[in-house]
């Protein structure tokens, strides 16, 4: 008897008991569907986060101050306040660095007429535009004379602009930041993204203005410290060499042996985020895989019942000349057909769920699930393996039945 023949017999037997076959398959359908849907959502989340990080620009290094150490009590990272505008200017000389944008930031209340919002306030220099690859959609970005004159001008992120000026053009209008009046000089292009990663919910002012006029705003108080120096480098492959050079310059300037700052590349941020989402995806997939195994046990259970129920049939087949191999093949084919059919339906189900999830929005986070071909392939291979693995024992039991006893079985 060949594979084709046993395939035909398997289909016949399965269709003779449609309800039972359907319920048995349901275990595999749900398992495979869950694996694909959950892995797709994990991948979707990963892509969303990655694209947000990349929207900031890829060839970036961030220099942040180290932690403060007062009387042996170590503060949080970035609390030392060791970086200055002069440090930033010194780093501009390093070959390979094409842009330096020092930055201080805080959160502040923004008021325009009857509208107000709380947004991230960024004080920086004109280089910010090129370093962060972030251009105004309308108006003119802050320029060198704004910085040297400590002008009270501001560039609004697109979300902030929409909130403060829902019905009118913000350009040239006045807003109050911590009760200091500013003139809106430009509105930035929309970069998308959500939460703390969004660049659309910030307001950019000249660095010097932030240091002096907004001196009472949170972390700016009484200091000329820089929170972070953004460095744009020409070639990502040089980032290690440049990181080293930046370190040397800053150690010399600060006259320290131990680093009182940290240098982090955008790649580091990306790989940290990817590591998190990878773990998430693996976890989701693992949970779903458990249900696939449960589905496999369901198949084994039904096949065992089926072997007992069909003992007489097995006896008849053996009496007319079926060999052990023929019976084994028949039951194994049945189990595999169940699991593969379940797998195929499961893939469609998982695909459907992924598409459905993509059309919903959770809060303001849009995660578009990405149906991963490897996940699909893996689910198919896994479901075939489940069928074979959980089919072998019942099939072996069936094939080992002795024809006399099987024929006498009632």
């Amino acid at each position: 008897m060949n594979i084709f023949e046993s395939f035909r017999i398997a289909l016949q037997n399965l269709s003779a008991n449609k309800l039972r076959s359907g319920l048995t398959m349901l275990g595999v359908i749900i398992g495979v569907g869950a694996v694909i849907a959950l892995v797709s959502i994990g991948r979707g989340a990963q892509e969303a986060i990655t694209s947000q990080i990349q929207s900031v620009g890829t060839n970036l290094l961030y220099v942040r101050p180290g932690s403060s150490n007062e009387g042996g009590v170590r503060g949080q990272e970035g609390s030392a306040g060791t970086l200055t505008l002069e440090d930033a200017q010194a780093l501009d000389q390093v070959p390979g660095i094409v842009g330096v944008a020092p930055e201080i930031d805080s959160f502040a209340q923004m008021v325009a007429g009857g509208n107000n919002t709380n947004a991230r306030l960024v004080g920086t220099t004109p280089a910010f535009q090129t370093v962060r690859d972030f251009a105004p959609a309308a108006g003119e970005f802050i320029n060198d004379s704004n910085v040297s004159a400590r002008s009270t001008v501001a560039c609004l992120g697109s979300s902030v602009a929409a909130q403060l000026f829902p019905d009118s053009d913000p350009l040239g209008q006045s807003i109050r930041i911590n009760n200091v009046p500013f003139r809106v000089q430009c509105v930035m292009e929309s970069k998308g993204g959500t939460g703390f990663l969004s660049q659309d919910t910030q307001v950019i002012v000249p660095l010097t203005t932030a240091q002096t006029r907004l001196a009472n705003a949170g972390r700016f108080r009484g200091s000329s410290n820089i929170n972070v120096i953004n460095l744009k480098i020409a070639d990502l492959s040089q980032s290690d060499a440049i990181t080293q050079q930046v370190g040397e310059i800053l150690r010399e300037r600060h006259r320290v042996v131990e680093d009182d700052f940290t240098v982090q590349s955008q790649e580091d941020v990306l790989s940290a985020a990817t590591a998190v989402t990878d773990t998430l995806t693996l976890f989701l997939g693992g949970v779903a895989a458990i249900s696939l195994i449960v589905g496999g046990i369901g198949i084994m259970n039904i096949m065992l019942v089926s072997v007992t129920e069909r003992t007489r049939e097995i006896g008849i087949r053996k009496a007319v000349g079926a060999k052990r191999r023929d019976i084994l093949l028949q039951f194994l084919t049945e189990a595999t057909v169940l699991s593969v059919l379940g797998g195929i339906i499961g893939i469609l189900l998982g695909w459907g769920i992924s598409a459905l999830m993509g059309s919903f929005r959770f809060g303001n986070t849009a995660v578009t699930p990405v149906v991963d071909l490897t996940a699909v392939l893996l689910a198919v291979i896994f479901s075939v393996a489940v069928g074979l693995f959980f089919g072998i024992y019942p099939a072996a039991r069936a094939s080992a039945l002795r024809p006399i006893e099987a024929l006498r079985y009632e």
């Binding site: 009496a319 007319v320 000349g321 052990r324 024929l407």
Partner: protein, 223 residues
């Protein structure tokens, strides 16, 4: 040449500690083209003998040659092949596959033999037993006599050396039983088929040319 040649066969079952001898040295020959009945009361070893003749079981000792093949010491798969090629079974309870059309039932031995022209040969066999019109009926759509005729068609389709019928009329009324016996007689007379009937019914046995009586695990008489 004898199609069945049994020499001093013994069959001993191990029942826990004790040994039970079902057959204690049976010898018999059945010639090609014979129609023989094996009779005996229950517990006589008749069924055990039938199982051994049908290659469903192996003797503990002795020699059994079926159509020139020494069946002794064959493994399960080799026995399956012998059953497939050389023996056609007809059982008391028909033993048809459930939910399967008559045609597919008759094709079954050929499926396991890997034979060609299955459909054509199955149709021929069904026509031979007078069921040419009901090839697509399932067992539950057929009467007992018709089911037994499907079983006979299945038994003879691979052109076996012997047809082994175990109480073939036991589940049938007398009219249907007579029809079935007529089919066996016709197959024996017209096609020279060797037919072995295992029965305790003297009326059935009367159709045979020779009756072998089995008693206490031995052949009591053969005439």
């Amino acid at each position: 040449m004898a199609v069945i040649d049994i020499e001093n066969i013994q069959k001993i079952y191990q029942m826990g500690e004790t040994q039970v001898a079902a057959l204690r040295g049976v010898s018999l020959q059945i010639e090609k083209g014979e129609m023989v009945a094996i009779m005996g009361p229950s517990g006589s070893g008749k069924s055990t003998l039938m199982n051994i003749i049908g290659c469903l079981d192996q003797p503990t000792a002795g020699i059994y040659r079926l159509d020139g093949v020494d069946v002794h010491k064959l493994d399960d798969d080799q026995l399956a092949e012998i059953r497939n090629k050389k023996i056609g079974f007809v059982f008391q309870s028909f033993n048809l596959l459930p939910r399967t059309a008559a045609l597919a039932q008759v094709e079954l031995p050929m499926v396991y033999a890997g034979a060609p022209d299955r459909r054509k040969r199955a149709l021929e066999a069904l026509t031979q037993v007078g069921l040419g019109e009901r090839v697509h009926h399932r067992p539950n759509e057929l009467s007992g006599g018709q089911q037994q005729r499907v079983a006979i068609a299945r038994a003879l389709v691979n052109n076996p050396a012997i047809i082994l019928a175990d109480e073939p009329t036991g589940n049938l009324d007398s009219v249907a039983g007579e029809e079935i016996m007529n089919i066996f007689k016709r197959l024996n007379r017209e096609q020279g088929m060797t037919v072995i009937l295992v029965t305790h019914d003297p009326d059935v046995a009367a159709n045979a040319q020779r009756i072998i009586h089995v008693k206490d695990g031995q052949v009591a008489s053969s005439k």
